[in-house]
Symmetry: D2
Subunit: 96 residues, 4 copies
């Protein structure tokens, strides 16, 4: 599948669909806070499954209960609909 | 740590502290249902961390959204307080 | 994708491609042994990612370093090429 | 357990026991490379279990097959023997 790089206007429209996410350094970014490492890693395990299923993997950082995620599409050197799709799925894991 | 095998009376008292769990084949048993494999495995990942921390590992079975757990203490050839402690921690993961 | 149920003859031919696996109760079965729970669960985490990517989930059991896996295809009420594909991928994780 | 901050001399001696690790920004650092995300996350799952068991959690970053780990001991605002113990256990997962 060829990924198309979204325009600034498209990115702004997509951002409205993913509360809590913002653009940082050109990437789709969100920080998640959990009560402890067990909860944080439980989230990461579910996120890993979603990412592998989409074949779209995050850049992510964890320390204890904090998980920071950055999404970008290397294939189009920018953001694609795939980034926002994964962001919506990740949000659904925690926002219920 | 030496584990002491709980008496039938003690087991009944402990069972009152872990709703959803029952004794089956002499083991402390509960079946968990999740909406899909991602949720089930997310639970298993958190459960694995708790189990490793306690150095007390479950017998468990999974298929798709179903996770069945059996706890027993090999050291005392029966049930110990450790089984009920792990059961309480596992329940807390899903019962909130 | 419609899954076709393999014939007995096809199953025997496929079995030759997955050393260590056998048919048990009509399912494709293998038992894996690891040195401890950490190694066993590390395998399970990788297996979970492969399964989710294929959207083909195992029935599996774990206790400490033992992992028993049964594969079957509910859609065709038997074994399909998908079971053998997942078996080959799981074997590759441990057989190197 | 009170953690004691290691001296520069002690750190240099400990570093000899953990090939591949170095000091970066005052933290014990190593980058691991795996063939793909499945292998990288399988490592992370095992590492998470070790970390939770030690109650000593890494700062770590992952993208696809890359895992970067930074260890430090907040309690002593520096490096302790615990950081090197976890580093040795993490190395053992991959170095065999």
């Amino acid at each position: 599948m060829t990924l198309r790089r979204l325009s600034e206007q498209e990115i702004q429209a997509e951002l409205d669909t993913v509360p809590g996410w913002k653009i940082a350094d050109g990437k789709l970014h969100r920080e998640f806070q959990f009560s402890d490492f067990v909860q944080a890693f439980g989230f990461m395990s579910r996120a890993a499954l979603l990412a592998e299923r989409m074949n779209h993997h995050p850049e992510w950082f964890n320390v204890y209960g904090t998980v920071r995620i950055d999404l970008t599409s290397h294939d189009c050197q920018g953001l694609s609909t795939r980034d926002f799709k994964l962001a919506r799925e990740l949000s659904a894991l925690v926002d219920g």
